[in-house]
Symmetry: C2
Subunit: 563 residues, 2 copies
């Protein structure tokens, strides 16, 4: 039914808007930026284009799976048909243009109707996206070796997904021809610059409903990002409902029936992300940032004493108590469950901002420190905690679990298992620049991801995306080996001041800039050119039903948000 | 059907959240603020309350109109029934609590079921809200002179509306009793501190669909604000479709079919606002900020010459050409139409930021200045423009039109008709404090409204509502007579960087603070106490279906935004 509606709209008689026809360049008048038409975000590595165009007819169009196939392909075929021809979830009206004065077939650049795009996967599907997944793909639309045809080719199902996203962005509505769905002849060879292109979502400071997480996941996919780093818990709340330890969320969530993620919720998120080629990496930050764990897991946290050795008010606790053996039993079982629940071998273990205040004053810990001859060096105790934690989790996962940690552990000279990934988040706000932080951290030989310049929660007035766009992960002073350790980065959205009401417009389109920095060639760094494409991409995402903020100041989209 | 659903939800068996029961006070753990329950925003002038409560039953409840009635009352009865018992527009589930262990009738504070609230309007309805409208009201719920009854009384239909809003906020869901809708015995005497409590919406830098404007209007009503100042046009676009001069929006809007306000749209907004006791004051800013007028109204703007007397590129224009007689004919007809379209006698005429650059270089203007002996004093030419504009509009409106202008006209010593209201917007961002601006402007003897401290478009990270809350309009150094001239103020949301995607969460709940400053007693200025009520009010507005941002950092609402 919807498809029919779309077709009828072709004949709606609407006249030209002069403001459409005139490119405004005077910044104080009209819109400030004229968007591109049919450009791809993030920018592909190589693209040659032609003015020759094809017309897509919704009632005729299909994706033809000519290579390997699996559920990921089948779902993508359905999804991208919808995204191209029927974007938006609330049934808002499609673009409507006046009928062309002459049949479109007589347009000098018209090449043909394009009723099929071939999906040619050369190798069998992988089931799960991973740190090593291939994402390269090719698109040929009416190339000399593929005349009058459109084909997406990849050796990997993940490359097919990235290619289908690109293809969907090549389709545009043209005011010049009056065609609602057209696409130019083009050839694209594309691959990501970095393998880890993530976004961190914080569901502890504010609870985010599943719908929000899914929309966020869609937006990641439509910007070719591939990791959802799920900061599930923190001091404020513990919304993850553990099967083995349900009391933690029962007492540590904001509300234990409505403000939690059940095992089924988690599965739903993981499956939603898997079908879009996105890894879900949970974070269970410890030993600090764990206040919410303590209510439902007695004796986990360090009871806090004051300087006179008096136990503080009963409710005051510090980080996880590192000298209590039973805690490692708990942690082993808990992280064993996490490893079985989240299929990605990587788990973010946190490790940031550990306060030693309560550790330093607890009699058991003081005795333990003395027995080990560690004096006042509590970094040794933190090393001990992470040694025990990694040993316990390696044991229960048969050495399969891999770790991501915040950079502090390296700052404190703590040794971590080989294969651990370190996330750099300091710099810019912390004295050193993030380049200095990167130079320092990569010296240790761990793989590294960068978050420092992309703390999107810190908002400011006006046009602010350029600074995110220009942040370059490989600009630091370091050897080639050090630079090879940087596998990517991620945008973060800490949720102290944002919840499901505006987490999406606060994140997007600013996170688009991170996506392009991590996918496209390093040389793609002209903000004036990017602005034109970002403007198109923003209106595209809006049309697809996502609340994406205006990025470039005074402007409009043909279809505004109207819900 | 919906009502039945609500009733069934009473018996849903849900157990208590410990996080509900424990008031958290430790800022780094759990939620940072515990909201009040059943408190009113903005705070009434006088309220005495009791712990005795009544229970409201959705299937039994009704408003009984015992005094005067009219369409405003009838619509409000329907609306507030919905707001109280079925908030939210997407049919999200009502609050559900476990059934009380014993019948609620046995609760020591239970007083009775309350199946009716009397609406007692003592004087006939006015049709239109106005600058002089009365908004005071009384509420008596089980007072000694009104036992076991609830009554809202006012001499004015506007007071009844304000009282019904208050009543709707007195209804709360109680985790303690398991009752979804209860209300305490109370007595309220309430009236606004200032008569002008406005919000300025800018539909020129970004187009705002009607749905957005209506939601904004609802939010104004639910915060007892009473003016929608509609900044309809600016350099960037002219979305108002004039009946007499349709070419202006045809060529000066972003898109002349989708991005305009038709006569019917404007009527719809005005009617929607009227039923909620809100005045709609349009702004047609001139003589500058008018670039978008020029495309469809040739010869209106001043052609711009450079220093050598050479006409600049054809597209460059300055403010409205003040020496061209035909322009006053146009302005008279145009504002005559505006006066007939918008029922409020007040029209905001703008007058801010007039650039003399093009005036100073136009040969006709130079000759006109010389002929009048004005030398280089272009403020005389601006005075001339406003003299002609006000004379023309007074003539065509039989002296009925009243004006609001931005403060610059006074800064330039321009004389304006008696009865003009001056809006102070400088200060804080402009060198002088807004108190100094207020002191200066009120000396001229015009009524004054304050906007300077409430430019909500300037966002910043973190908790930022307190500065808006604490801005006090009567703190300036001035005589009693000067202070009496301050009739109120307004929050503004200039839309360079916001459109319908996030204009609501960016405005609210920050505009709530302006609403309380302008309604409640001056002594209501404790931010710590306000935070608790604001937290409740934020969740209330969220539950009612409005995208209102979290205001106080880490927290949750029982019903999160989930759309």
């Amino acid at each position: 039914m919807n498809v029919l509606l779309l077709v009828f709209c072709f004949v709606a008689s609407v006249q030209w808007a002069p403001s459409e026809a005139v490119p405004f360049v005077i910044p104080w008048y009209g819109r400030w930026i004229v968007p591109t038409v049919g450009e791809v975000w993030p920018k592909p590595q190589q693209q040659t284009s032609s003015e020759t165009f094809f017309v897509l007819r919704p009632t005729m169009f299909q994706f033809q799976v000519v290579g390997e196939r699996c559920d990921i392909i089948d779902e993508a075929v359905r999804r991208y048909y919808q995204i191209i021809f029927y974007p938006g979830e609330a049934g808002r009206s499609p673009l409507s243009y006046p009928p062309p004065p002459t049949p479109i077939q007589e347009h000098p650049q018209f090449r043909a109707f394009l009723d099929a795009v071939e999906i040619d996967l050369k190798q069998p599907c992988e089931y799960l996206p991973s740190a090593d997944m291939l994402e390269s793909y090719n698109i040929k639309i009416d190339t000399p070796d593929n005349p009058l045809k459109a084909t997406i080719t990849s050796d990997s199902v993940w490359g097919i997904l990235r290619g289908m996203e690109t293809l969907s962005q090549l389709v545009y509505s043209s005011a010049a021809t009056g065609v609602a769905y057209q696409m130019n002849a083009t050839e694209i060879t594309d691959f990501p610059r970095f393998s880890y292109r993530g976004f961190m979502m914080d569901t502890a400071r504010h609870y985010m409903p599943l719908k929000t997480i899914k929309k966020m996941t869609d937006l990641l996919a439509q910007n070719k990002m591939n990791v959802l780093h799920w900061h599930l818990t923190d001091d404020a709340s513990f919304p993850y409902e553990s099967t083995l330890f349900p009391n933690i969320s029962r007492y540590g969530s904001f509300q234990p029936f409505s403000h939690i993620y059940t095992a089924n919720d988690v599965r739903e998120v993981i499956e939603y992300a898997r079908l879009r080629g996105i890894r879900v990496i949970p974070e269970f930050d410890s030993p600090d940032h764990t206040q919410s764990w303590g209510l439902g897991q007695p004796r986990l946290l360090t009871e806090c004493y004051d300087d006179n050795g008096i136990l503080k008010v009963p409710d005051e606790y510090g980080a996880i108590m590192p000298t209590r053996e039973e805690n490692y039993v708990f942690l082993q079982q808990f992280f064993g469950e996490i490893f079985n629940t989240f299929p990605d071998p990587y788990v973010h273990m946190g490790g940031d901002e550990v306060s030693y205040y309560c550790w330093q004053r607890h009699p058991e810990i003081k005795a333990f420190m003395a027995a080990n001859g560690w004096g006042e060096d509590y970094t040794k105790l933190e090393q001990y905690y992470f040694d025990r934690l990694t040993a316990a989790t390696q044991e229960i996962t048969q050495n399969q679990m891999r770790y991501i940690v915040w950079q502090e552990l390296l700052d404190l000279n703590i040794t971590l298992p080989t294969g651990t990934v370190v996330e750099v988040w300091k710099g810019d706000y912390e004295g050193l620049s993030f380049n200095e932080e990167l130079a320092r951290v990569t010296k240790y030989g761990y793989q590294t991801i960068l978050a420092s310049p992309w703390y999107l929660n810190y908002i400011s007035y006006g046009l602010d995306w350029e600074k995110y766009y220009l942040a370059e992960p490989l600009d630091f002073d370091g050897s080639e080996a050090q630079k090879n350790l940087v596998i990517g980065g991620e945008a973060t959205m800490w949720s102290e001041y944002v919840d499901s009401v505006s987490v999406i417009p606060r994140t997007w389109p600013r996170a688009c800039t991170v996506a392009e920095r991590l996918w496209s060639d390093r040389s793609v760094n002209d903000t004036a050119l990017a602005a034109l494409r970002l403007e198109e991409h923003r209106c595209r995402l809006l049309r697809r039903g996502f609340m994406v903020d205006p990025s470039n100041g005074v402007n409009f989209c043909e279809q505004e948000w109207d819900m």
